[in-house]
């Protein structure tokens, strides 16, 4: 659970109740006149810092702004020799034990020949989540603040979830790229910055280029000096020199979705978040073409994007900490009979029951059906995630 009360919003219970009622209508009426799935406009640019491998800047309409810079360094893959042995031994042991159970005679030569095979063969790229390091800077918060750490974890979790990303950083068996993603929130955190940081990171990753490798196999890596010959980590479709394993994928995006009653609302402003019954951070990745995990049946037959759910996190909405309104029935100031009512057993019920038009902080978790609906709505074909990815695709890479 992450907490979102970085900036406490001063809204009275009456205002909260009003917002809650308008948002729970069918269709919901939002304060800024958007539809439930509509995003606020944003401005984005990439390649703003020539000193980095990839960079991006995004400004949201509410005035929040973030800059992401990505730097890559070549690092020696240190642990591999040890890891190799560690992984191998127990497996062989198990295998041997299984064989012992199955048969009396054990062929030990089997395992050794496997070793020989692997060394001679072309090596599949491997990856390690340690190869990516993500830091988040939020003005007014310490580096080790739980909110900052949580944001960084959530973003890197989405990036590393499918295990494909780290493989892109593989150079050869001895070396790999170490990627540093530094995410800086320039403005003060006016609303929960997760979607902003996620979209900026997405763009920066799309713009990230690594120099072209000149050396072969397991030599010490040598790179092409020509930056024009460098290769995108996420090559665009139709580009040359894309390896089949990496073509078509895109970095993940994390969207903030909230629910009020049965209504599902995207890109909530901070006022809307203040009355949310529940909020979710949904990370979505994209794979086009024949992804092995994709079960979707492509009925249209055209190469549309397959959205993959990478992770879901519940966000603790600030609405839980708001003060409740007091119904007139128990309000001593309104009728001057508070003392009498307090003795009445019905008064207790009035305090805990829902009274129409009186604000009460949401209690308990979100309903399973609502959570499911929120995730489904994100993943929907032609839905919001689709639209956002399409929009970000339109940002030209500088």
């Amino acid at each position: 659970m992450a907490s979102t009360q970085q900036q406490h919003l001063l809204l009275s219970p009456a205002e909260l109740a009003y917002l809650h009622i308008t948002l729970s209508q069918q269709p919901p009426i939002r304060a800024d006149g958007r539809t439930a799935t509509q995003f606020r406009p944003l401005t984005a640019e990439t390649g703003i810092l020539p000193g980095t491998n990839g960079s991006a800047r995004v400004c949201f309409a509410d005035g929040t702004e973030a800059v992401v810079g990505i730097k890559a360094e070549v690092e020696r893959t240190r642990k591999q020799g040890i890891d190799y042995a560690k992984q191998r031994r127990p497996r062989n042991k198990q295998k041997q034990q299984q064989k012992k159970i199955a048969e009396e005679e054990v062929e030990v030569g089997d395992g050794e020949s496997e070793d020989g095979d692997e060394e001679g063969a072309v090596h599949e790229p491997t990856g390690d989540s340690d190869w990516v390091k993500m830091t988040v800077e939020i003005p007014g918060l310490r580096d080790d603040d739980s909110g900052t750490v949580f944001l960084a974890t959530m973003l890197s979790e989405a990036l590393l979830a499918d295990g494909e990303f780290a493989k892109k950083l593989w150079i050869n068996r001895r070396f790999h790229w170490k990627l540093y993603l530094d995410i800086i929130l320039i403005s003060s955190p006016l609303s929960y910055p997760l979607p902003l940081l996620s979209l900026t990171t997405h763009l920066a990753l799309l713009a990230t280029r690594l120099p072209r490798l000149k050396s072969e196999a397991d030599e010490d890596p040598m790179f092409d000096d020509d930056w024009a010959a460098s290769q995108f980590i996420y090559p665009r479709q139709g580009d040359d020199n894309t390896s089949p394993s990496t073509s078509g994928t895109r970095p993940p995006i994390t969207l903030l979705v909230m629910a009020v009653g049965d209504n599902i609302i995207f890109d909530p402003s901070k006022e809307e978040l203040a009355v949310a019954d529940s909020a979710l951070a949904v990370s979505v990745g994209e794979t086009t073409g024949d992804a092995d995990g994709a079960v979707d049946v492509d009925e249209e037959g055209k190469a549309s994007r397959n959205l993959r759910l990478l992770s879901v996190r519940t966000i603790d909405p600030p609405s839980r900490l708001t003060a409740p309104g007091i119904p007139n029935a128990v309000n001593a100031a309104a009728w001057g009979q508070g003392a009498v009512v307090a003795k009445d057993p019905g008064a207790r019920a009035a305090e805990t029951d829902e009274v129409e038009g009186v604000w009460k902080a949401p209690r308990g978790g979100a309903k399973i059906a609502v959570l499911g609906a929120m995730v489904a709505k994100v993943l929907e074909k032609g839905g919001v995630a689709d639209e956002v990815l399409e929009g970000l695709y339109g940002v030209e890479l500088g």
Partner: protein, 270 residues
């Protein structure tokens, strides 16, 4: 990587082809961010800095992570926090907020601005300035001071004059003990690594020095020349900042954001 500056004597040109009194390319913008009270973006060569000012606002907690000029007096508190991005230098290097160099930068900027701003107009309040270094190539302190001046003007906080800063160095190192050493202005990172230099901030085009920071060893006989060169360079920087602000002001008037002839009456004497 030590830099060979001995070629300077041959053509009197520096490593990047400038003459001794030439500034690097300057580029500035104000009001870059909608939500802030004041904001600016400044490039001095390859040093790129963003500044966001919020305030004057009611005193919250006295900043722990930022340097501030918290005094017992009734004047506004100027809280400065500098964030140096990990990707700003050539090799990626992460600096925490507790870093001593950053703290010193914060204190220097905060003291200099507090002396220049009319803080007495905002008793019991805080003006918080957050600076982000996106790319660094020398003259960092100077760029930070210039960017905060721009952002403070955008925020409309009254001040006596532009606070402008620039660096100045000397063509030969301390050990060389060369008498014919020329002063240089607006050093880049390569030059800063090898040559003695100082950062000086003056009040506008005057010779009033607000900040003078020198962290390298330099012969005292050369100091005067360096300071004179820095003061001249500060005039150039001031003209540039003035131009940025006038252009923005002109744009706002033509776009109709501000009525023509509108003026703000502020009681400065208190």
């Amino acid at each position: 990587m030590p830099l060979d500056t001995s070629t300077y004597d041959l053509a009197l040109l520096r490593v990047d082809g400038r003459r001794w009194n030439e500034l690097r390319r300057l580029d500035g913008q104000i009001r870059t961010q909608a939500a802030a009270d004041g904001s600016s973006y400044l490039e001095m060569g390859n040093t790129k800095v963003m500044c966001v000012v919020s305030g004057p606002s009611e005193d919250k907690r006295r900043g722990q992570t930022s340097a501030s000029t918290a005094t017992g007096s009734n004047a506004a508190d100027v809280a400065v926090s500098v964030v140096v991005a990990g990707f700003s230098s050539v090799d990626r290097k992460k600096r925490g907020r507790g870093d001593k160099r950053i703290q010193e930068l914060q204190t220097t900027i905060s003291k200099a601005l507090a002396s220049n701003l009319h803080t007495h107009l905002y008793p019991r309040s805080t003006i918080s300035i957050s600076l982000n270094v996106l790319s660094q190539d020398g003259s960092l302190l100077a760029a930070l001071i210039n960017a905060s001046t721009l952002a403070l003007i955008d925020a409309g906080i009254p001040m006596t004059d532009y606070l402008v800063a620039c660096t100045a160095g000397s063509t030969s190192s301390y050990a060389a003990n060369d008498d014919r050493a020329d002063p240089l202005v607006d050093l880049n990172n390569q030059e800063e690594q090898e040559l003695p230099f100082l950062t000086m901030a003056t009040l506008g085009a005057t010779d009033k020095v607000a900040v003078l920071v020198c962290e390298s060893r330099v012969q005292v006989s050369r100091l005067e020349g360096m300071m004179a060169a820095a003061a001249d360079a500060c005039k150039g920087v001031r003209d540039f900042l003035d131009q940025v602000i006038r252009e923005k002001g002109h744009k706002m008037v033509t776009e109709g954001t501000i009525e023509k002839g509108a003026s703000m009456a502020i009681e400065i004497d208190a």
